[in-house]
Symmetry: D3
Subunit: 332 residues, 6 copies
């Protein structure tokens, strides 16, 4: 099968240990973060041929992160080197009424200082049929937004399917333009896009099929290229207990997955990324959209039960949950 390409920022994720707060933890676990690298890692675990593109500095920290991605099976041969630093996220896990906490220290990262023309998109997309990006990248800097646009133009020219995740972060978008000035032009390239973004009311509670269809229709009218609108419905009972369901709308019909009751969350970060990755896998590998959304929901449910931002699960493990009993028996 042809390859998938993702592009964005990868960050060090320095996480307080166990249940400790950042204020309390005397050692930090070194992981990595970044929506598009999470999607790439997840797709590689499913056996997809996936290339991840970013820009990082030449130092041991960036090398360690890129090595980890390559170890997970992601092609990193198109990564560009340069700039001054890799961005950092400091993270502490939440519990019940205590929210997870993130301290961002990503200003001035190598991806933010990337210049137009530094990536050869023709070469990058050679052999590929899918490109995935998120709204985090254009939020970083004017040049990162420009490079994102370069990618989208090239992807369309070369006939790739394009998926985009709005991923709005209110603390980003500090480089001069508001997201509403930048995103519409970029979203217009997308075949698949997330339906939950700042222009639409957040859909968290159980919603009728009609409402999903109506929200999807609005998206499709605004972005005529769009063929699939993607929703994830999170019921945030507490930081430790969520419900989680995937919904897609294809212009004709609403497809709803099982609604998972995740009663003892281990780590919900990367949940949305794992959904998007698994949905891309599902749309490419299953005959029906219903199966695709079921696969995506089962996969991302498992992500909530795995430490770290990446979804370390195989297709077999996802299908076992998707198709089988849902009570976590010991396999032996």
């Amino acid at each position: 099968m042809k390859k998938i390409v993702t592009f964005g920022e990868v960050l060090l994720n320095l996480a307080a240990q166990g249940d400790l707060r950042l204020k309390q933890s005397n050692s930090l676990d070194l992981r990595f973060a970044g929506a598009e690298s999470n999607v790439a890692a997840s797709l590689a675990q499913f056996g997809e041929n996936v290339t991840y593109i970013t820009r990082v500095p030449k130092n041991d920290l960036a090398e360690k992160v890129i090595n980890t991605l390559r170890g997970l099976g992601v092609d990193t041969s198109k990564v560009v080197y340069g700039g001054d630093r890799i961005g950092i996220i400091f993270f502490e896990n939440g519990a019940v009424y205590k929210s997870s906490k993130v301290i961002y220290d990503r200003a001035g990262s190598s991806i933010a200082t990337i210049q137009e023309g530094s990536i050869d998109w023709k070469q990058a997309f050679d052999g590929a049929d899918w490109f995935h990006w998120t709204g985090i990248t254009p939020a970083l800097s004017a040049s990162a937004a420009a490079v994102t646009k370069e990618a989208l133009i090239a992807a369309r020219e070369m006939g790739l399917t394009i998926s985009g995740d709005y991923n709005f972060r209110k603390n980003l978008w500090q480089w001069g333009k508001d997201h509403t000035e930048v995103m519409p032009e970029l979203l217009a390239f997308c075949d698949v896009m997330s339906g939950i973004h700042p222009d639409v009311n957040i859909v968290e509670e159980a919603v009728s099929d009609e409402l999903y269809a109506s929200a999807g229709e609005d998206m499709m009218k605004k972005y005529p290229n769009c063929k699939v609108v993607v929703f994830t419905a999170r019921g945030s009972i507490s930081a430790s207990h969520n419900t989680w369901q995937g919904v897609i709308y294809d212009g004709e019909k609403v497809y709803r997955s099982a609604n998972y009751d995740i009663t003892h969350i281990v780590d919900r970060v990367g949940g949305g990324d794992s959904f998007m990755a698994a949905l891309i896998y599902g749309l490419r590998n299953y005959p029906t959209k219903q199966e695709a959304v079921e696969f995506a929901a089962a996969a991302s449910t498992l992500k909530h039960l795995i430490a770290g931002d990446q979804n370390m699960v195989s297709v077999e493990e996802v299908e076992a949950l998707m198709n089988g009993p849902k009570n976590g028996l010991i396999n032996r």
Copy 2:
């Protein structure tokens, strides 16, 4: 604002790691414990000016504990040095049907062997308007009880508001007198006192306002100085799941906080101390008693979700829970 003074025993807390039993754990996490130092630490996190007084030996273990308290912003310049040892608590966490377990090794500690006159209370209370103590200190030894009384006399003379927490521990009170012989005289000094103590039926389940008011009235009759009676209502569904609500009575009215459903407890030790600290903060900083009890309940709910005996939360974090949605979203 004027400063708050607390006085009592601080102990090493040597805790089994993660879910391990003391029998199983090959390393122990070094923390500290002690109701009054917990209250001081909590108040310092809220930005209050707070002085903690105790007596510890001159060794590296006591130095480490005092340094930690000072680091948290507590004034430790009035700590007295001498005696032979710092008391120790060995702790293992509980889960569902398995109770938490504590092994006390506190006999002969420096605070238990304190002598009358060793603390200059006039100087200690200079610039203060509030004194907090608990029933643990008089339980330790005759001289610790006597020094507590010295403190109370000085505090009253200097016009401080006095709050007391009965904190009955059945394994203490071994120095010759029963708590019923000692505590009433000391409680008589208090403006604010906990309503749950051995003379009153423990209030754990949902109780009517009438019953709280009646229990409060009984306290106020017995202790005419008392202006606020404090209750915490814990619903012990299991060691991992409690409900938690704060209630105060001011002689006129019962004020009840939201009732929190703490479904995945991280560590409930210090929960009562964190409530008392936050109530002191609330009574000093909010215009209404309702806000004070809401602040205290929200703060101490967060304590249940934080490892260790001290409540490492800021006023902003407490107010976010107190005033906002209660479903632990990720802030980013």
Copy 3:
């Protein structure tokens, strides 16, 4: 009281740390596993005089495991040394919808290559009145099955009570015979046997007393020596949340324990072993079968809340749960 003897395979259990997957964990916690050694360890914690027999190689890993068992109070003086390796289990814990995962690496272990005649059963059973075995041992190899039969013959000759746990593992039984060809002859020696095995429908949900009685009767007809049939009813709500109840049938009456709602499981591995151990203790030490099954259910409930395969609890701790309130208060 006379001693109890158990016989079987002990394995290294190399467990991923905390919530990590085996794929993620860079260090593995070294524990031990094995149904019969778990039973022995549990009985020793209850103060029983218990001898554990196995065959392990002469190396530091086996020495460490045997030392741990001896440290827990199990008599290991009858352990036989020889062969090439100790079997290994690699383990990762489950959570909610993520199953626990076990990778077995036990082929060629010293117990699988044991030869008939290598254990002096007369000497081993000297002073004993109870022998416990499980269906794991005959599953390992023809010779391990033969040695199990030697043990059973000797135990019957010397008048010991015999308990057997079917413990069917579909990945074992690779040595040429199917379990249905081997087990019936061995089960026929048993006075006490587990009622849940591959010949009987698994009983996991609430079942009527009549159904238990009927299943028990079937067993007793097939195995006339059998005096007590043992059931454990697990309600697998998720990998983190189970219900757990013990049931025994003595040919006359069904005895049912309290049904525990284990809402936050720490580690369910060894749950069945801990039930069997506690039931053996209960049948030997309580006047009634009802107390025996209550003790077994309370003990094994606690096992679910303790890390590792062994049930590190005392009789006092089990009785506190069995007889007391079930809400996990802090004891201090």
Copy 4:
């Protein structure tokens, strides 16, 4: 005694664990770094009254670092809050032929973006008689250099003794001016200064008293305010084995400490800072310069045997080495 003030940048120090390389370490130990904060921490361990001034952002990471300094007894009440980030050092320890490795990520830190006038130096120096600074601060940015100069002018006006450590770092000084354009004006304020800086040949091997005297004279001619020139002579046999000696020149005489043979270095980072701190202590507290330099050398030798950048030793421990046998017996 009057207080000492130090001013500079404090950084997070994220250190690879044990002997691991940054490339290998999956968790990083969270410490702090920064020459001037190291000096402050060391002086506080000696019981000196010391104030540390810096600028850090308002976040949990900076709070943790400042809390640690305060816990060590340093007055942090003059710390200024603002800016975007706390600088970070990533560190891996060396061994024999493998150099220690440091990755700096300090650009854009709150201290680098400090503005002139943001510190009230009159208030900061109130009650102080000594000010210590290093050449790292003016290397950070034009404004940090300007604030350093403000401090020096105020310190001279208020009659403080001033000590300065050149601490040349070739990777800094990127803000437009070369260190040779900036440092001389600042060094001219100093009463005590380090003799090893880029203008002078590095003195690492055993050097004659005459050479030290001559190098000292050169400094004193260039900087007429200078009364004490400070040298540390490190014999770098390997990353694990150094010799270490302190030398000072007071315009009249060379004072040389014992030459320590540090055969098994634990962590040499902060060695120079600990020397400077102990020399300041020595010059203030011993009657002779010989004792001062002996104290400084003994103290900083101990730093090489302690993990982390700060010298966690008391005056008693330093004097035990300075005056006693040097063979590391166990004290019990």
Copy 5:
């Protein structure tokens, strides 16, 4: 072979991790300490039949320690239970010029409050032919000294060989009598005794055979029962580098072991205990005294290279060093 009995205090040893100071370490490794338990553990590793007797409280901490000893193969069936606490040692490792540091918190331990008559020495010595004690036990309390004397009287009556280690600790001996008033009477029972004690000049440097013989003769004159005087010659080059040699005198001849150059000490605590244990083994199992002292020196050299107070080595490992090349090749 007949069994060996040792008697004394066992303590928790809570050790700072790695190279950290107690002031720095946020977790402490839980080990155990105590000269006589160290000797017992070491003898059990050599395959000797050894019984250790002490008095500890009934709690999980003491149970853990006793279980560890039993796991190591020591018979703990004669341990007496009672009293209030197990003593504690807090430990930090040394390096080069930094001494190891020990904080004792052992007052009021169960062994110190033992009463005369609480141990049935006839039963304890049944089947034994050797008794080992040290001067630490009589230093703890009057009653501990009295029970030591009871043991010695019984041991002599039953014909056991008696070995004693002076083990003078200046911080003990606080119960009213000086060691010079108590020890001579107890040492008079010994067949084997350490020659290094407070009455004799410490022998640390290379000493002539004549001097050892003369010191040994002095001991034998004072204690006519003494048949073997034991010296260990430690050359304390630094806390990380010692030389180590064993010497014994039997009234006729001085036997000297190889002199080991321990250039990279891991943990020297328990070095003397491991020497004594291995000498007891050597005197019982080798035909010549020369072999005995060589075995003791090789064994205790290995102890310096093993973390913790106990010498976790087998006879084979000791003999490999004693008889083979001494350059630490990898065995594979």
Copy 6:
């Protein structure tokens, strides 16, 4: 440049933590081992294009190891899957007189049960110009020996340079033939081979150039294909202190590297592998053999100072040691 291929067994390396013995360590660090994978990993760190071939089972443990290799930049696309298990090494580090200890548990591994014809060597060697193997692989089983021979035949046919490392392990070679019956035929294919093997006296001490030349000549006579004979001279002063020098002979001249004095070894396992890898790099990338052997010696010296079996160093780091001062200064 063309690619290098290595082939052999990769094993899990489960290592006792820090200075602990396997008997003591309660967690084991998960690493990987295997001479040929070590060589591949090292070459990839140097930027070489390297393919590693082995056979491993389909499970999470093997996946983790292969992922780690791929992450380090090794091409693992030719790895064959099948068989039952990945071999295991249990490892404990040595110190001074205490040897490192290895427990092998590698019988029945997937590489040992490989069948002839399972690897497509034509495809594997496509684009390659160098093949490296060691004597460990033919030692595993008859079929592993046969597959090694297949590889050598194909490599010669395709014109690759072949390097072989005898790597004799006395505990292997259990499949029926002695190494002397198998190895000569395989060594005859080699262009580059290690000179230290069981047929030649081990060269550990300083040896004259004449002796090296003479040993090299013997090898070249026996194996006429051989163009370079490789020696490493280790001076085993202790397990913590070795000297280390590389020597090669090319039929004409002896080339000797600097002799490194590795005074504080961190982990010497993989030292020989790292030498071989760096020599291959050196022979391919430097104009002179002297530079090649200097690079190899410097690289492998650094390996002794890095934890784990793989040499995690870059060309820049090796050249800094090879060409620069050798005293481990801090780079900042």
